[in-house]
Amino acid sequence: MDLVRIDAVHKHFGSNHVLKGIDLRIGAGEVVAIIGRSGSGKSTLLRSINGLESIDDGQIEVDGEKLTAGQTDLRALRQKVGMVFQQFNLFPHLKVGENVMLAPQVVKKMSRADCEPIAKAMLAKVGLAEKFDAYPDQLSGGQQQRVAIARALAMQPKVMLCDEITSALDPELVNEVLAVVKQLAVEGMTLIMVTHEMRFARDVGNKLVFMYQGKVHESGDPKELFANPQTPELQSFIGAIN
């Protein structure tokens, strides 16, 4: 049973056709890494899964919630899809715990008393239980990104989208974030990530999607694809980053 179904999705930015008919099936518990050059449409594809980018044609379905062109009511879908961003995007005026509790309180109408144990558990999961009362700007980049992961998890999503979540981090902080993501993968969370961490994509991912000029150019088992790229474009992409 597929958790995420993407069918014939098209997207234009003005005259620029950025997604040219994307079809993708993602099963529950799969860890999907989307790679490709900048401008290949990988980020746009990821952002269209929770409606941050509208699509012009086709359909996306996540756990029974459908998204089509022109749709504006995204509340049900977005409750099933968590997202973590390159720039963390924590709410700077709220403490760490409040960041994590805000959406459950506001969107799910849970009481603070009910949210607090969930928030504490999620922060413990990312190793930051003791930062509950800190403000985001008192944390390192890696810690902030882990809070962002806890914030997304607190909504108990079915899928997590990760948009280059280690790209804004200092090199020494990348691993603490990747370790958290790896733990999520081990626990069976469905993950779709746009990433430049090729080693991580190969070791932790169980599906690799190579985007090229707005299409899925090649996809399959990461280890196999990295070892035997079938298309010259993927060959040169892998060659360029190694």
């Binding site: 968590g82 709410f91 709220l94």
Partner: protein, 219 residues
Amino acid sequence: MMTEFTLWDIIRNLITGLEWTVGLSLTAFLLGGAVGLLVLTARIGRFPWLQKAMKGYIELFQGTPLLMQLFLVFFGISLMGIDVPAWLAAAIGLTLFTSAYLAEIWRGCVEAIPKGQWEASSSLAMSWVEQMRYVVLPQALRIAIAPTVGFSVQVVKGTSVASIIGFAELTKTGGMLANATFKPFLVFGLVAVGYFILCYPLSHFAMRLERKYRGSSSH
């Protein structure tokens, strides 16, 4: 018959005028703030025709002199057969003027909030109203305080225009006293001191707030 005005008589009368200036300023600022909040909501809201209408409203008040606005309110309402007292016309005119400027100042503050804040709260399934209420406005408010207090100085000085439609605030009182005492320099000097006493603490306060929020962290 000639009445002699002592310095104390002049000051006493000016203080009464000053009180009306303060009253008019407060009224315009508070009501203008309330109306401005509505204008702001419509200006940045999701209905394109309302956005356009509010853009027009703001441009109208920013693009015409306050004096003309007061004339239009004062004489415009009389034209409809309703007799408006000067204080009411002044309060209405200044309220509209203030609402347009505050809405525009606040819009800038809302737009200064990074796009990532909207995206993060969107991805957490929050609605537009929830995003505004819990994420964007609390942050925008912080950066809006200093320019808002700064603008209050403009409102105080703007009230002097109400003298032209006959409202006896500080400037009008000064004009009457100058005519009666033949000491315009003294009287208007004191009028200026009166405005300064009101405005200096406000602009000083605004500067301090600005430094505070520029320098420190965002919570």
